[in-house]
């Protein structure tokens, strides 16, 4: 016979469970993950090179994992900082998932590590949907990308704990309108902090490391509206989210 079965399962429940397990396991070891998202070419690697070097100078034990579809170029650049670095090749996959990250960290991450920076695949669409077990999610945009980037990629910017603008040394040449960019960030993610940086000129360096260390110390990160769980509906009843999947059960016909 033909049956209609109610499932009420979050599609990404498996990834979310893997992310929660990874976060709990790493937290127990005193390790915090920072997930870096941006479009290709926005300067994730350049900024991270500088931040990793700073961490080393300050004797903060950090490690970095960088994901790309192909080449080990980014790992070679990041490894110049002298901290442990691992390249993940996704073989064409456009994003990292929590299970993949867990497999790559297992047996590789030195026990004394405090922060793991994960440079996600350069892409503002797909990686936004996947929790990697991070405590801090950072979304970057360079001044050359246009002030409306947060509006074009609202899921990525809307779920950021911190937004970083890169390449500010050429802001004037490309007529970057900082106020317009900030207003667009505010529209999709009210209250999120926006940092201005230039890896080339050394501007704003260390701020990312400071925010990551604060998150590692348990300072609560900004909670984006998009990540907030509503406690009640307009019509007054509360939703049952007892399965912990983070997706609300809703009535349907």
């Amino acid at each position: 016979m033909c049956r209609v079965v109610d499932l009420k399962q979050a599609v990404l429940a498996k990834n979310d469970r893997a992310a929660d397990t990874l976060r709990a396991g790493l937290t127990a070891r005193g390790i915090t993950v920072v997930n870096l998202l941006s479009s290709p070419g926005s300067g994730k690697t350049a900024l991270l090179e500088r931040e990793l070097s700073l961490a080393r100078e300050r004797s903060v034990p950090v490690a970095a994992l960088t994901a790309d579809l192909a080449t080990e170029n980014d790992a070679e650049r990041l490894a110049r900082s002298g901290v442990p670095v691992k390249q993940v090749l996704t073989d064409g996959l456009c994003h990292l998932e929590a299970g993949m990250l867990a497999r790559h960290l297992e047996g590789w991450l030195p026990d004394a590590t405090r922060l793991v920076f994960v440079e996600n695949v350069g892409n503002l669409v797909c990686p936004a949907s996947y929790d990697l077990g991070e405590t801090l999610r950072v979304v970057l945009a360079s001044v050359t990308e246009g002030e409306d980037k947060p509006l074009k990629y609202p899921t990525a910017f809307g779920l950021a704990h911190l937004v970083v603008v890169t390449k500010t040394d050429i802001a004037e040449a490309v007529e970057f309108d900082e106020a317009a960019f900030r207003a667009n960030v505010e529209r999709v993610n009210p209250g999120v902090e926006v940092l201005l940086t230039s890896a080339r000129r050394g501007l704003g360096l260390g701020a990312l490391l400071d925010r990551a260390l604060a998150a590692a110390d348990g300072v609560p990160a900004h909670t984006p509206v998009m990540a907030r769980e509503p406690h009640e509906h307009a019509h007054g009843h509360t939703h049952d989210d007892a399965d912990g999947t983070g997706v609300l059960a809703q009535s349907h016909s």
Binding site: R3, V125, K152, V188
Partner: protein, 131 residues
């Protein structure tokens, strides 16, 4: 495009549920709720779903997608609004930043229609009336 990963996650969960229920011979349709702000394109998802179902118990199954509009409410002034796309998540009335997102982030399997070649038996899943 991560819709293929999403499609495969849907298929994996339906396969598991079908195995758990036992005796499922074919899945006819899968119903999904996709919020406006879920970051998933329903058309791309349907395309991937059809491809990824081949060779599974879901082969030929229809993917039915219900889009859930994004709605938000301002905590200080209680104003409620449709967030639109791109979403406006700060209150258009009082400009406060303390917003609750009421809906729009859903990415959920609501239900499945399947054939199990048996007469009705009680299961631990709620079974609504046949259509």
């Amino acid at each position: 495009m991560h819709e293929m990963s999403i499609a495969m996650a849907v298929i994996g969960q339906v396969e598991e549920a079908a195995e758990g229920a036992g005796g499922v011979t074919a899945v006819r349709s899968v119903r999904l709720q996709v919020g406006e702000l879920a970051g998933v394109v329903p058309d791309a998802l349907s395309f991937c779903f059809e491809l990824a179902c081949a060779g599974t118990v879901l082969e030929g199954a229809e993917l039915v997608t219900d889009t859930v509009p994004g709605r938000a409410r301002c905590t200080p002034c209680a104003h409620e609004w449709a967030v639109g796309m791109p979403p406006l998540l700060s209150c258009p009335r009082c400009d406060g930043g303390a917003t609750d997102l009421l809906s729009g982030r859903e990415l959920q399997i609501v239900g499945v229609q399947w054939e199990d070649g048996r007469t009705p038996l009680p299961t631990d899943q709620p079974i609504p009336e046949e259509r």
